[in-house]
Symmetry: C3
Subunit: 208 residues, 3 copies
């Protein structure tokens, strides 16, 4: 609706978007594999997980939903589902995927906030859009699969997305160049999520 | 937002829409009946299942949500809930409803794709919109009821919607008349779903 | 998209909106507290529960999502989460919260319908928007937490929202002043929900 204030923004960061979509689509298909599902369900989970977060973001900020006017995005998700179906999921699952997912999380959180700012969204909601973009697809994947959501585990996951989005928005407000803000945000988010994977860092739960 | 490119399109297929709404509303109310719910919950489930898929489709393609500017659609869902409440649900449940649901699935998948194409959506997303329109209401119904979703069963359900939507979009791209594409798509989807009901056809699950 | 027909409407009732957001945000954080979650999850649940219903309403009626162009709404939810985190949740949980929630329910149902009518939505969908605004955030909260939803309990909850929204829309159609319609609707909804809390009123479940 409102034209993007800084359109080059989104163009420049589009690679982060495709990377995030692929990684999340693969993680969706892997959940289908763990549940011994059919190929159709593989594709459904790959699509929902791959595009879910960005879809909600675009609906909320009043942008055209990013995958509706192109064939490429959904085809990418379908290919990801086929790849997981055809090669043993054991090769993809486990720690390698965790690290790709960490990279996707950081990329997507940064990109989501950047896209929101480019549509004139206020800073706090723009920060929230980054977190949503990175986490919502995985949350829907877990709800549909009947799994306990990443939300309910103490692991640093949403927190890493919040760090990436928060640094990006904060540095942008302070006048940093987009590329600097994006690099710092994404690297910090990736680092924090990486520490959670490598060292089991987690947040303390609530004690009454 | 963008005006429909082929408005007569939606008008011509509107009967498929009302048929799909009624069948899905009844299936929603039947889930409430199985769970021994109250009349208010009957209505809630009838509405969510009846309009859920089309609502998500309209939000995604940037169309005005189809039931917001008319009273008829919600009243239709409320009547469906009352009908299920007043007559024994045993008469409605079982195989008769399965066959109505199959017809609703085929009708809705075709209509959903047609509406998406009429809003200038690209072919692959238009195909996805057909599948979503047919399946999303039932998925939300199952998540809200705490039931395992149709998504997670090997039965041909999403696949039948995909066949209907895929044939419709494919034939439209090849230049077939709308009515021919819609008839072929809906009949093929209904046939495949019917075979799943009558003969227990299902897709193979993933083997690692 | 369509400009509000009666903009003063929303302005006048905005206090109901903030009250509803706070109460629901607190109820979201309390669910996180019961599940011994982290502070990040507290905030996530506070935001989803606080703004969930109004977000869906705004998407459906084609209004700009109410919290996207201001920082205040999300900050209010974050503060609510911090308050629950910092003070013992035992002081907030229990009957006091139930009564605040009842007030939030009545306020939000009335406000949701008023906002829908002000965007030119037809009466039956405007009534549905009131119910959705009041109930949807709590439903998403329960689904994410893996709890049985308020929907599935016989308690008068959705029904009280329906009474508030229905009276408001009905009296508005009959030409009553906005303030009268809002006061009657909100008080009736609060009264019915209060009776459910105080006396355990509930609806009969379905018997086959």
């Amino acid at each position: 609706m409102s034209p993007p204030a800084v359109p080059a923004f989104s163009d420049a960061l589009v690679i982060l978007d495709y990377f995030g979509i692929s990684v999340f689509a693969i993680s969706g298909a892997l959940v289908a594999a763990e549940k011994r599902q059919t190929l159709v369900t593989f594709i459904f989970f790959a699509v929902v997980t791959g595009v879910g977060g960005g879809t909600l973001r675009d609906l909320l900020i009043g942008a055209p939903v990013f995958w509706v006017h192109t064939n490429a995005t959904l085809l990418l998700c379908i290919v990801a589902a086929l790849v997981v179906w055809l090669i043993s999921h054991r090769r993809l699952a486990g720690r390698a995927l965790l690290w790709f997912d960490a990279a996707g999380l950081a990329a997507y959180a940064t990109y989501g906030s950047a896209r929101a700012l480019s549509y004139g969204v206020a800073p706090v909601p723009a920060f929230a859009m980054g977190v949503l973009t990175a986490c919502f697809g995985g949350i829907v994947r877990d709800v549909l699969a009947g799994e306990p959501s990443i939300l309910m585990r103490p692991e640093l996951y949403v927190t890493a997305a919040a760090l990436a989005a928060g640094l990006f928005v904060g540095l942008s407000l302070l006048g940093a160049a987009i590329w600097l803000a994006a690099a710092v945000g994404a690297m910090a988010g990736f680092g924090l999520r990486g520490a959670a994977i490598a060292r089991g860092w987690s947040l303390p739960g609530y004690r009454a």
